[in-house]
Amino acid sequence: MKPFLVFVAAALAALLPTSPAQDLVAIRAGKVWTISSGLLENAVILVKDGRIEAVGADLEVPWNATVVDARDKVVMPAWILAHSTAGLGGGNNERMQNVPFLTVADGLDPSSLAIEEGRRNGVGVANVMPGNQTLVAGRGLIARYVGRTVEEMTLRERSGLKLSFAAGQGNVIAQIREMRRVLDDAAALKKDLERKREEWQKAKDAGAIKDEEFKEEPDETKKPLVDLIEGKLVGWLYVPGSAELAEVARLKEKYALKLVLILGPRCYKAAEQVKALGYPVVLDENALEFRETDPETGDEKIVSPAKVFADAGIEFAISLGDDGRGPERHPWWQLATMVRSGIDRETALRSLTSVPAKILGLDAELGTIQAGRAANLQVLTGDPFQATSWVDTVMIDGEIVYERSKDQRLKLLFGENEGNK
């Protein structure tokens, strides 16, 4: 009976585009980048009920396990994006500049091409946030790249409040002034609430009020900012260049904000400042390498901010291009760009796995191939740093959510059938 069931399950898995989580899956891998303990050769990964049960070179494959044969392939953790606007379409930048009450949950499209392309690229989980063009842009959510509704996709709501210094179209002073005003207003609101609470407490102590507890809350439209001031919500602040970094130090001192910094390419000149701030760092998609023009001579040079940060001992996560056009949309391109600039391969891989997991507070769950972690895995046809490698299979929580052999749109994009004309 049992082998028969396994057979049925395997048959189903082959038929359905997304198969239900298997009871027990064994992946025979040619190579495993564990991230936690280096590269294993000819290893087996056992997945049970959506979790990694064991990893090792000399593991026995249980007789009742469904076997995934990846003996000529490379297995990695599925990528984790610390910051992404994927799935929000073109509308990820609200034009009103102070909209803390917005949430990407209202804009995320589970069937968007960007999410599909993400799976094709091996992405398992992303912190989806509003774009960089709004001062106080709203809240993000951590999404699994599987599911037909936002609810199914949601791994964690309210991943943080997106803030940006890039909304002023180059007017640094105006941006800083506006940010100060917004935060001062929130601080004043918080103070006002505290005063009201004290008054309420006094009145209660005097027996004038019989209410069980203090009920007044800030207006829903302002609450996220008050939460930010109180340190209950993390601010994800986009900083385009070193000019704005000085203000980040001031914000830290004045409000003791909990922040994650998303750094644009021009921040590399203030690497020491970034280090001193001590905030977690996410590099924007174009902040791994860019062409800088000397304003005096007009000469161009290639600058690698990622390398500058790595040399300064700053740990960082990276982003992928979300517009679906440039090469930055490919994880292998981003990884190879880092290696080309002199960053070692382990550090490069961590920037799309364990580091973003840590920044998102998911490091006990995701980002490495270790017993006990969620089975968010990808099978690559080859080296993750090569253009010729393709993602073959993606597994999220033990469920196979992408198989290249069944990717109809990939076949269309390739134009495979056209050659037979």
Binding site: R325, P327, V339, R340, G415, E416, K421
Partner: protein, 418 residues
């Protein structure tokens, strides 16, 4: 009349003498500093550019030319400057068969729809940032063409990406005549509604059909012009520079490069070439994948622009396998960067074609020897063969490995990067 005739004569003469002088000058100038030195690049994996690879190879350069290429047994002349290239890879300088690099200012002449006599050499800026960028990426030869907003845009040229002046950079003058099909030459044009059309914004044509009509009209004018010239006893017509250029194309002395992205435009490009009997190359033909039979039948080469791009202009649909399909069907093709501002360095574009299934050695040929052949400059550049210009790129690893990068570039035997 006589005045006009004399003008043509002297114009042609100047051109010819300039052409004859240019290689001599280029030879003198480029080699002057390197005349006595012999440079030997030793120990690298040498990819010749025609498909062959030599492990632990030796490349000898002198007098601005490649003197010898061989394996470790090749004799190293005494007194040579030896560059140790162990662990690295050498390729010929890359050849980008279609660009608008180096043109100072606007690449589109807006004076007329038919500007056949416009030449990019008159606007070439040796200090152009795009040329410098291409050079740093290992591209040493490019075909520069006028932009794609005119029906007949003008004359292109093949130039080096390094040199002090247009004359010194020049490899081949009048390398092609640019025609553009599709909606690009009509995009932005508007029909006049009453009154006098007083600006270029009221130009014709405004449709694809109009673009083809303009092309036909131009070639018919050229044919009539030719007939007028040959009527016995009749005075010759006033010289028309544009029509003279079109006549050269009709006589087969000038290759036409027809930019045609979408399927119907590719078919139109082939039809027009057959109709008037000129030779054409298909440029930026994104939808070549859907017209393979017609392309094979017409025996026209294809310049395929920017395989890395997920999108293309003029509503053309991208298919990743296009380069591979062209190779499979035996269509001569080169990978180029084209008009797309988002195109990557040429080597990276070829790398994307490899990602999409093209054989790496064909991909390398498509940006070196094959590109040079399609531009008819294979006797100067495009492969590492004795007698050709010493345009050489040293890579830190395989050129199609995204983790490798350009270490050094030599143009005419002179090290110009770094």
């Amino acid at each position: 009349m006589t005045w006009g005739f004399t003008m043509t004569c002297s114009f042609t003469m100047t051109c010819r003498s300039a052409l004859a002088l240019v290689p001599v000058l280029a030879g003198l100038v480029a080699t002057a500093p390197a005349q006595d030195t012999i440079t030997v690049l030793r120990g690298a994996r040498v990819l010749i550019g025609t498909g062959q690879a030599i492990e632990n190879g030796v490349v000898t350069m002198a007098g601005g030319k490649i003197v010898a290429v061989g394996d470790a047994k090749l004799e190293v002349p005494g007194g040579a400057v030896i560059v140790d290239c162990a662990g690295k890879v050498i390729t010929p300088g890359l050849v980008d068969a279609s660009t608008t690099l180096g043109i100072a200012g606007d690449v589109n002449e807006q004076g007329d729809e038919i500007t056949a006599a416009v030449s990019v050499l008159d606007a070439l800026d040796p200090r152009d940032k795009g040329l410098a960028r291409a050079l740093r990426a290992g591209v040493t030869t490019v075909q520069v063409n006028p932009g794609n907003k005119n029906v007949i845009g003008g004359l292109g040229a093949v130039v080096k990406t390094f040199g002090e002046s247009a004359e010194r950079m020049l490899v081949r003058e009048d390398s092609g005549l640019r025609l553009t099909m599709g909606a690009e030459p009509s995009g932005g044009n508007r029909a006049s509604r009453g009154g006098t059309p007083a600006s270029i914004y009221y130009r014709r044509p405004t449709t694809r059909m109009g673009v083809v009509w303009e092309t036909r009209q131009a070639f018919y004018r050229a044919i009539a012009y030719q007939e007028q010239k040959t009527i016995p006893g009749a005075p010759p017509p006033p010289v028309d520079a544009d029509l003279e250029v079109l006549l050269r194309a009709l006589r087969g002395e000038l290759i036409v490069r027809t930019t045609a992205r979408a399927e119907q435009d590719i078919r139109t490009a082939i039809r027009l070439a057959n109709e008037f009997g000129y030779k054409t190359v298909l440029d930026e033909s994104t939808e070549a994948w859907s017209v393979l039979d017609a392309i094979v039948a017409a025996n026209v080469p294809v310049l395929l622009a920017a395989p890395s791009r997920g999108i293309a202009g003029d509503g053309a649909e991208v298919r990743w396998a296009t380069a591979r399909l062209l190779a499979q069907r035996g269509v001569p093709f080169a990978i180029c960067s084209g008009a797309d501002a988002g195109a990557l360095d040429l080597g990276r574009e070829a790398m994307f074609a490899v990602r999409f299934g093209l054989d790496p050695s064909i991909a390398l040929r498509s940006v070196t020897s094959e590109a040079a052949r399609l531009l008819a400059v294979e006797d100067r550049v495009g492969s590492l063969s004795a007698g050709l210009d010493a345009d050489v790129v040293l890579w830190s690893g395989d050129p199609f490995d995204p983790t490798s990068s350009v270490v050094s570039v030599w143009v005419g035997g002179r090290r110009v990067v770094p």
